[in-house]
């Protein structure tokens, strides 16, 4: 560190101390520019919603003392936005939303990026996966449904979106195998527009089942148009308390569809501490809790250390199940 830098940082610290008398120690770091949260997809999807929910909580609870912006950087199944974040190394004003795709892109070979390239700030929420059929379909649970899969897979079309290799796909493959049917014989119908196409296709009888996040089906369940065969959570979910978990149905499979936030690599210890403390505070605020409830998201808070260990385990699990169906070698 050269003299000029020490002088500058000393100056900055004294300015800060002046701005926030009594609260700031000289070693503290605070963002000095507007915060940018990157949603690595277009507006409207899960990342976008998470980024905007974090934005809302940070702003309304006045946690960062700077304006918070959300920018949409779609491309490469998240890679474009994440590459942008990687380029901000050492700068503490940049966050990005992420999800299991950061593992899957790497596993499937479409991106070189891994979670190890970033400061994995916090895992924040999760949704759970379900398999849904039409309400008038004959199947009541995993057992009879997958028995039919085993008998004649050519009659069963399974809707998945937006592309193979994601959590929805992995859930169905794992279940197929657990129930003793052949994962390679499953006919997946791929819908790039996800629920917007999958649900009409299911209701119109074009496909027999969809593998999807629970929240996407909730309105149809309430309206009595769709039945859920099982859910990937550990405990039953209050909104759908009649639906048994896969675990209850005898399959040892608990599978969260989580989303979290990460920061640029190369942050100083002070910067890391600022953000870890901020996230700790944020998940306890009323604004955050209310937003989760409104969105039907379950809290799934894991601070950096726990989050990183969790990712390492998920990475192994996904590699195994995709290898089994030959999607990777």
């Amino acid at each position: 560190m050269n003299t000029k830098w020490i002088l500058l940082s000393g100056l900055a610290a004294s300015v800060m101390a002046f701005d926030y008398p009594g609260t700031a120690l000289a070693a503290d770091w605070k963002p000095t520019r507007p915060i940018e949260i990157v949603a690595p997809a277009g507006p409207g999807g899960g990342w976008d919603l998470l980024a905007r929910t974090v934005q809302q909580a940070l702003t309304q609870e006045k946690l960062v003392g700077q304006p918070v912006l959300v920018t949409n950087k779609p491309g490469g199944g998240g890679s474009a936005g994440w590459t942008y974040l990687k380029g901000k190394a050492g700068q503490g004003e940049f966050l990005a939303a992420n999800s299991p795709l950061i593992l899957q892109n790497n596993i499937l070979g479409s991106s070189q990026l891994t979670y190890k390239d970033f400061f994995m700030l916090a895992n924040l929420m999760t949704e759970w996966e379900v398999v849904a059929v039409k309400a008038d379909a004959p199947w009541k649970g995993g057992k009879d449904f997958f028995a039919e899969m085993k008998k004649d897979p050519t009659k069963m079309n399974i809707g998945v979106g937006p592309a193979l290799g994601n959590d929805d796909h992995i859930q169905f493959l794992t279940l197929t195998k657990a129930y003793g049917a052949d994962p390679k014989a499953v006919k997946f119908v791929v819908y790039p527009n996800t629920a917007a196409e999958q649900i009409p296709a299911l209701l119109g009888g074009h496909i027999q089942a969809i593998t999807i996040s629970m929240a996407e089906t909730l309105e149809q369940v309430k309206a009595g148009k769709v039945r859920l065969l099982g859910v990937s959570s550990a405990e039953r979910i209050p909104e759908i308390k009649d639906v048994a978990t896969w675990k209850e149905q005898g399959v040892d499979f608990v599978f969260p569809h989580w989303r979290g936030v990460m920061a640029a690599p190369g942050l100083s210890a002070e910067q890391q501490k600022f953000w870890s403390d901020t996230m700790d505070k944020m998940v306890k605020t009323e604004t955050w809790k209310k937003a989760l409830k409104n969105l039907n998201w379950e809290a799934f808070y894991q601070p950096t250390k726990e989050y990183t260990e969790f990712l390492a385990k998920q990475d192994i699990l996904m590699r195994e199940s995709l290898k089994e169906v030959g999607l990777i070698k």
């Binding site: 277009g42 999807g45 491309g75 479409s110 006919k187 527009n193 009409p200 296709a201 119109g204 409830k293």
Partner: protein, 496 residues
Amino acid sequence: MDDVFHNLLLGLSVSASATNLMWVFIGGLLGTIIGMLPGLGPATGVAILIPITYGMNPATALITMCAVYYGAMFGGSRASIMINTPGDASAIVSCFDGYPMAKSGRAGTALATSAIASFIGGIIGMAFLIFLTEPVAAAALEFGPAEKFSLMLFALTATITLSEGSIIKGFLAMGLGFMLATIGIDGQSGAIRFTMGIIDLQDGIDFLVVMIGLYAVTEVFKNYKAINVVFDVDHRMIGRVWMSGAEFKQTLLPMLRSSPLGFVVGVLPGAGGTIATFLSYAVEKSISKKPERFGKGAIEGLAAPEAANNACSCGALVPLLTLGIPGSGTTAVMLGALMMLGVRPGPVLFQQHPEIAWGVIASMLVGNVMLLLINLPLAVPLVRLLKIPPRIMLPLILGMGYMGTYFLNYSAFDFTLVSLFALAGYIMSMLSIPVPPLVLALILGGMTEQAYRNALTISNGTLAIFYEKPISLAFLILAAVSLAYGLLRHRKLTQK
């Protein structure tokens, strides 16, 4: 029926509050301006608005977002008409006759026509939304991958056979469009196709980049030779921002035909404004007694797609309100924003929150009137753009084109693409190869391919699924008829 009117009155009482009226106005104006800028569409407009909606009650939030959506639909074609630069995919068709109209000094009429047609399309779409939501939503469920593929095939053949000049060149352009559409990662197999190792191509080529290149930048190239020429336009004609009685009569039937068409296409999952506008244009041209006027400033060629587009945006709300699933990119953003406010649109919305559902529907009626009132006076300063000499106007268009490109993905690589496509557009215009089939094939290419594969997955590989399903068969027959019609017309033209 009494119920409907009772509910509509409830809705009107919600939407007519001073706050809501103010937000309809602000949203409508904002949307119009956003729609005018190339590259910025309604989805971006609504997303920008989300932070503002945090403090609102859900009804006001949804009303404001709908106003932006509508405003962008109204504004999207301004740039198409004035500078041949569509702001959005659904505004491409408005270039075909809107720009020739503006060039021949009828810009005021073109802008008025577009606003009035949008208004009529919106009102008819609303009426459909109020009275026919249930049956149309139920019928749309019949629409599976086979039907979707056949519909797109029809939209494509109709566009080729109706575009100017040689039919072979039309096919050539479509082929190019399809080839470009295959670039990128394939969602079904995960294969990376034709990217030549360039990472920026992994997501495929954004059709908006191609559009800006082929339309806006090419237009600058074409006009470069005339850069010092002062346009001799009739200034009295420019000032007239209205339609004459005869013009209204000429466009009334096309607007009435296109609106239901647009609405139905809007309801179908994943079809959208592009198909609606292209199809309505094709229909009008093929039933016109003087099809040769199309593409040279035919007023009904502008009115029909404008009406179809706005009716289509009403149709896109049907899946949102009845199934709780978004029918378009914009409605997906609206859904997200509403969920953050604790409201989930869907089958039970009308029972649980009638004041929201009907407030929104009524506010659209109010919003359409307001947008007409915003857009007609706005046309007066817009037409003055034509008085700007080309040596100032052309650099401006060039700047806007490149700026719009950058806003799409914040990618400098897109500058290379936009320049390449501008060059391609110039060459295509010299060889008189039509551009619309290329753009349409690029937009629909990926969807067509996936629909084809999904249909074959479901049928276990037999092609029978395409002709055994009646709706699909009907579209295939229409595609064949339009092809035969195009060939006949072409033969007649060449024999002359």
